[in-house]
């Protein structure tokens, strides 16, 4: 379902540059390169094994020449157990729902996956006019031990990004020099960016702006959000 965008794009252009990137990564990593996804002329995604997360950084920086560190973060693939009630109570009533919705099935995005959390990072090659490219790297984080190895040794800038991911998602980074709170106060409990962490403001009061997406009377051009809500 999530891979449908790849087929929607026009099939014409090939992308030698990014195909080579995947090939080079495959040579260096072997079986650790699990899956890749290429949007010709636009972007490339590569998923590696959890154990190879530190290695892929080394390879990307030293062998591919992606010296520029873009960002590092985590995706929580669990559909929000609060469902569309997080949009507003009004929305749920329109959808004919009652009670607290259950969390749906986990569906990972491009390059697939087997775990609820995935670590996501982007590095790039910059500084050479006419030869700019970036690569999105992903790895599963096993559900039973929420840890991956750190990138700080390879990309010093990963320090703050890993601290943010640690406090927001509760993911450990093995070998990180100091996982301390970055944004949140030291005694904060929970990991706010997880999907099962409720956004309290939305529990108390519906978002007034939701009115914008209600169907206008007499316009039959689009699906009403009510029908949409039943889906997830």
């Amino acid at each position: 379902m999530s891979d449908t965008t790849a087929t929607d794009t026009p099939p014409a252009p090939t992308d030698e540059l990014r195909e080579q990137l995947i090939a080079k990564l495959g040579d260096a990593l072997g079986d650790s390169l699990i899956d890749s996804h290429l949007l010709p002329g636009t972007d490339v995604w590569v998923r590696v094994a959890t154990d190879a997360w530190a290695e892929v950084a080394e390879v990307a920086r030293h062998k591919l020449g992606a010296k520029y560190f873009g960002f590092l973060s985590v995706i929580d693939w669990l559909p929000s157990p609060f469902g569309r009630s997080m949009d507003s109570e009004v929305d749920r009533v329109l959808a004919g729902e009652s009670g607290t919705p259950e969390a749906g099935e986990i569906v990972q995005g491009v390059t697939g996956g087997d775990s609820r959390f995935q670590v996501l990072a982007r590095v790039a090659h910059v500084g050479e006019p006419g030869n700019y490219w970036g690569i999105n790297l992903k790895a599963d984080i096993p559900d039973d031990s929420l840890e991956v190895s750190t990138w700080v040794k390879t990309y010093a800038g990963a320090d703050w990004h890993e601290r943010e991911a640690w406090e927001m998602f509760g993911i450990g980074f093995v070998g990180h020099p100091g996982l301390r709170h970055l944004y949140l106060p030291g005694d904060f409990e929970g990991h706010p960016m997880r999907k099962d962490f409720p956004l309290l403001a939305r529990q108390v009061k519906p978002w007034p702006g939701i009115v914008d997406v209600e169907p206008m009377p007499g316009s039959g051009d689009d699906d009403a959000p009510a029908e949409e809500g039943a889906e997830s």
């Binding site: 569906v107 982007r122 500084g127 700019y132 956004l199 997406v213």
Partner: protein
Amino acid sequence: MTAITDRQKLQYIAAQAADARVNVELETEGMTLNIGPQHPATHGTLRIVARLDGEQVIAAEPICGYMHRGYEKLTEVRTYAQVTTLVNRIDWLGSFANEVPFILAAEQLMGVEAPPRAQWIRTLLFEMSRISNLILFLGDMAVQLGAVTPAFFAFRDREYVLDQIERVTGGRFHPNFDRIGGLKDDLPKGWLADTKATMDKVRSFCDEIETLLMGAEIFQARTRGIGVIPHDVAQQYGLSGANARASGIDWDLRRDQPSGMVYSELDWKVITHPDGDSFARFWVRLQEVREAAKIVEQCCDGVPGGPIMAKVPRIIKVPAGEAWVSTENPLGEMGYYVVSKGDLTPFRVKIRSASFNNVAIAPWILRGVYVPDIITILASLYFILGDIDR
């Protein structure tokens, strides 16, 4: 008069130096200095905890989060159209520039492209927000170094640019003007001519700042060779924008990844500086304002006719998929990683803001500098608090 031989002179100097060393060892003691969160030199609520040995910094750590607003979480419960209102407030001095990469990411997922007129006006407003942002930097940098006058010039001349932005969008700071598939409105009548006249004012502001500051001995002494960032360190920390270009990295997303805007059709150049010090960062930004003024003028001449909106459904559901789009914002590379599951709201949005990476280098660069240079370096790195804390 007793004649002093060279030998005696040298002995005297050596004795003085030995005394000084002893005194230094005896008198200095560790001290922790808190700068901020409320401090005039931190423009925003960034707090710096610096451990000092005498006048020298042993270790410094920026502490952020005083203004964290949780935009990544909030985007998950907003429709795509509503997200632009939020992201306006990330870098509040160049608001329009924040909307563009998000809209482009959504357009990429939907396979929609804005009509040419919309792309030209986007480029125009994008550069105007760059000018309004950087003008304030040029004035503010001087304030941090102790010269107050340039700030008044900056606020005066920025107002002309903001007026023009307001005439189009209705908002001085938060335009909320970009839409998936185009723009909210067309330009008002006579706006293009007025904007070109405004660019003359911007240019004379640049000249003014140049003559006022760049030649000044104090300004040079405070910035030259202070806070040098080598290009490989800059890349490791993910420094982008003018900070990277001031370290000699020839990289500008406007040139290298111009999708969605019309930079490839315009005549302008990427400014770099090899030194990597505070002066270089100031100099690059000053030249960039001039380049931006050039771009704005060309856009004013070149805006084609036609519609400003592509055909998009009124209720926008973005097809499932993932997209990363980043643009060259006033502060550096600003990007959004948007994950959609085909719903009315994004499933996950990772906001990669420039200042977050630009300030993450602070512990590295502040080690070993003197206290007054902390202010110079932070000012020259140029961050907006909302862009760090999101």
